[in-house]
Subunit: 603 residues, 2 copies
């Protein structure tokens, strides 16, 4: 019996692995939450890993069935079938991790050369006296320019108001933060140099607090978008906001309130101060962007759906009421079109170089609204599809958000249901990836037909005048109603997946390509990063391509926001992306209705 | 009998004058309000005019006594002694006009090459359509840049919010206003291009609405500074503001409220809109400047009296709550020191080239606080003296502000009092210039001694334990108390004039000059422009120099603000003035107490 050192990426854990235990066993022993539905017998494909370095056992027949030859060549293995034979480095793809572990991983570092828009300097000035009557503003600026050979000439008015008077109590020693030639904060020396990256989603708002000097993510926090109370999707919020100016203001205020709470929580959690946050970057879809800034959404309400603002913006945080450093700016990445926003730009930015891809690639950000870009030869075409909230668990009988107790993975093996829940607690309902798995499994087992009808099966029953497939019966749950997939649920999934697939088809048609020519499919978004690619292909949400063509990149919009926060070159890159992207209006595409109908079929 | 055409400057009136009527007669016939106390017998010197062009009668012996030979050479005459002999052009100096007429004249044009910070362009864009999905912001900017070959890249966030959505209702035709490369307003085409110049005085706030395209002053309005309710002078307001943050905010809010009312009134009066005001320039002393901007006044409260901000500022109007064009800026001229503010810089700016004077000049801005600059060889030294509110009529028994019924000129001829009141109504009290005249006349008549004591005289009586000189008795006023000058009044004037004179002396001492070397004395400020120079010299408020060395320039701070509004070169000039000015602390000057005591003596 031997022990080897194994490093697991990207979770960043190292452990000793015995040569006679499976890699799956070792991973679980280390507390890494990996998906496994088949009890480690090589059937569920959940525990996919990639061997980056080191020797391991030969692949088994189960694995040779599961993986393409390219994948096998790239080192892909099922952890339950693999035994180490030397020190190893192993990559666990995001999709093999359970939700809580993934969220943790997604808070990880981003790798970028740091060129933040804001830089900080330590200064020590001499105090005024009867023989040195220099005014406070000039004293600060001259000390700064002299010590650092700068040409700074402006101090933000709020800094003059709030920070400048504090210099006396700090004996004229301070940390001065500059953006271009403007002083945007003065803090005691030493202070943190923090930045805030925020992804304002239709459903969820996620904030990341970063250390600008190290690039490290210090904390992350997600919260619901409170605008949900005024409309579940974009269209209903636009309608709400257009009813009266007061309502538009309300929609802005509730978001800003949540953002300020987020700032407070992130600061408290890290023992830092909100005044140490020197810059913020925000991304969101065009409607969220416009509502947050209190821009007119009139153009988004009717054809030709033109946004008020497309360009990247640099505005004072105070101009949206965000309480960070007194002179700090908020940078907003550019939008592409009325329904392809800055979050999609951020996603493309986060996916290294995808926007310059020469071969044919597709990048998809799945959400209530799904944005898809086709990239070829450095050209970008984008569409937006109303995929609806089904993937978030809404409008599904037993659907729920990705929270504890949600079934996130599901398999039907010999008419038996195996599943995993978030938090490994008894099941409460199904989140998006679980619903997709369920529909895919029912389709593959022939219980649901190509056109989506639920057929006859011992687990199928009729309840309230519609058929439903019982995943977990009343008896199995003990004094709770059964968890089922209803005929209506299947229809909802068909509409949602049809929207996405037809978006892909229109883009390809518009540029004269076929699905087979696609070399890479990037999947981002909260749901997109948890979904089982195989299920997504099985039901025909995505084109039938080798699984190794798909790459799940997690909350790429948030990562893009972080990159833009840490690097002004990345901001310039985002501008270039928005500039190259041309928008394709789905509704105006030839034969769109036909394409959409076709795309709703399963398989 | 012949008629000649006579043009009167700067009031801008033309009239026919008979060869057998005095110029004074003609002036009055035309409704120009000129000072005259001696009923036109050549004794009071009030009706001083300057013949710029044309022939007039020979000067009389009265005039040869009144004027220096230089003044006579320069065409100075008493209007009551002068008869025209050809068409003429006559200048009526500000000091010869009564108050209401002067205020009217001061609203006049300023002459400067127009280079405003903001420029406006007419654009016509094409509306969006299904085949032209360009976003509103890019549509505007590209049209603008293309039509005018510009490189504009930024639209203010408030303009995006408030103006951009209106383009649709204007069929995409608009007037776009730019400051540097930033769009700061979008108005319907055609709109006015207006600017606002504001002089925030300790006592009075005066606003001027200018047409930026013509340079014309469209309207002017003065109002009390509402901070008076929280402290009459600067020191008491600083004390008030330092008592609590809420009080400092209060002081700011009341001023901004008044400024917004001023904007509304000026707009209503001229039939324009506040959104057409594209830029504002504000001047005020350092304390008013700091309180308006809500900057810390801690530095102004204690030695060494260092201001928080000395540099010129460009801040968004919204950052002080001023309601003009949505993206407009307020420009604040630089301060010189804790008690020599932007209003003094504006005054030096308004007095053409005085700040570059090679010979020795003194520029004085008289107010509750009096700022004095000594200029020589392009160098500027400045002091600030607490001259108090006596010249505004405060702390004087029968003192009052310069309003209707105030005695503004007064003469004692053979123990008889002659006087003129503002508005030519029965006397109610004395305003600053009247008080100064009274003390000077009593001193010249030997009724008040050099050290300020009131002596024996038929009109001197003792009332409430102090001596007082009865200017107008109870009998003369009918059922009103007498108007008198009390011993205490004389003391107040001594303190006030002593403060000013000692300021001049310290500046001269500091630079090694004597009073005799002064070649020019510029007097500005509300009181300074109405005061009788002869009286000011007689009591020793000002050095004994030939009267033609003195020049009264009216509300020069307001004119300086207008100049800075109309021309960015003048802003640069203001920067140069502040940069060259060095501050001299009176309290730190050698032998200051002695100099001050000496300066309180009359004569």
């Amino acid at each position: 019996m031997k022990f080897y050192n194994v490093d697991f990426e990207p979770v960043g854990k190292r452990g000793k692995c015995r040569d006679d235990e499976s890699l799956l066993n070792c991973i679980r022993r280390l507390g890494i939450c990996i998906v496994s539905l088949c009890a480690g017998v090589g059937k569920c494909h959940g525990c996919k890993v990639q061997i980056l370095r080191g020797s391991v056992s030969e692949s088994t027949s189960n694995e040779r069935q599961s993986f393409s030859s390219q994948e096998l060549k790239d080192g892909y293995r099922l952890a339950c079938q693999t035994y180490v034979a030397s020190d190893c480095q192993v990559h666990i793809p995001l999709e093999s991790l359970t939700t809580p572990q993934r969220i943790q991983v997604e808070g990880q570092e981003v790798s970028v050369d740091r060129e933040p828009a804001v830089s900080s300097c330590h200064i020590q000035a001499s105090p005024p006296s009867l023989s040195d009557l220099q005014a406070d503003d000039e004293r600060l600026i001259e000390t700064l320019n002299h010590q650092y050979n700068l040409h700074c000439n402006t101090i933000d008015i709020n800094v003059l108001r709030k920070n400048l008077p504090l210099l006396r109590s700090w004996n004229w020693e301070a940390q001065v933060s500059l953006r271009d030639q403007e002083v945007i904060a003065i803090n005691p020396w030493p202070s943190h140099q923090l930045g805030l990256a925020i992804d304002v989603g239709t459903t969820k708002i996620v904030g990341y607090l970063l250390d600008l000097s190290s690039g490290q993510t210090l904390a992350a926090e997600g919260t619901m978008n409170p605008q949900i109370n005024y409309g579940e999707d974009i269209a209903s919020r636009i309608t709400y906001a257009m009813e009266s100016p007061a309502r538009a203001i309300k929609l802005q205020q509730v978001v800003v309130e949540v953002l300020n709470n987020l700032v407070t929580n992130l600061s408290n959690e890290t023992g830092t101060k909100s005044e140490e946050i020197l810059e913020a970057v925000m991304v969101g879809n065009t409607a969220m962007h416009h509502l947050l800034l209190h821009l007119s959404i009139e153009g988004l309400a009717a054809s030709p759906f033109v946004p008020a603002v497309r360009k990247a913006l640099n505005i004072k945080a105070r101009d949206i009421g965000l309480g960070i450093a007194p002179g700090a700016y908020v940078h907003l990445l550019p939008n592409i079109a009325g329904f392809v926003g800055a979050d999609h730009v951020a996603m493309l930015l986060a996916t290294k170089g995808i926007w310059k891809y020469k071969d044919l690639a597709i990048a998809i950000d799945i959400g209530t609204n799904t944005e898809i870009s086709l990239i070829h030869n450095e050209q970008i075409s984008s569409v937006s599809c109303a995929s609806g909230p089904a993937f978030e668990g809404a409008h599904i009988k037993d659907g729920m958000r990705a929270a504890n107790g949600a079934i996130e993975r599901l398999q039907l093996i010999n008419d038996q249901i195996s599943y995993e829940t978030i938090g490994e607690v008894p099941p409460v309902g199904l989140c998006g990836s679980g619903i997709l798995d369920a529909v895919a499994q029912l389709y593959l087992a022939g219980i649901v037909s190509k056109d989506g009808r639920i057929g006859i099966h011992p687990r199928v029953r009729t309840h309230e005048k519609q058929r439903e497939f019982v995943l977990i019966s009343e008896e199995e749950r003990i004094s709770s109603p059964a968890i089922t997939i209803t005929q209506k649920d299947v229809r909802e999934i068909q509409l949602a997946k049809g929207a996405i697939r037809s978006g892909i088809k229109v883009l390809l048609q518009e540029r004269g390509y076929s699905e087979k020519e696609i070399k890479k499919v990037i999947i981002a978004g909260a749901f997109g990063s948890y979904v089982n690619m195989r299920s997504a292909v099985d039901i025909g949400m995505l084109p039938s391509l080798p699984l190794d063509h798909f790459q799940q990149v997690g909350n790429a919009a948030g990562i893009g926001a972080k990159l833009a926060l840490l690097s002004i070159s990345r901001r310039a890159e985002a501008q270039a992306i928005a500039h190259r992207a041309s928008y394709v209006e789905l509704a105006a595409a030839p034969h769109f209705q036909e394409i959409f109908l076709q795309a709703t079929y399963l398989g």
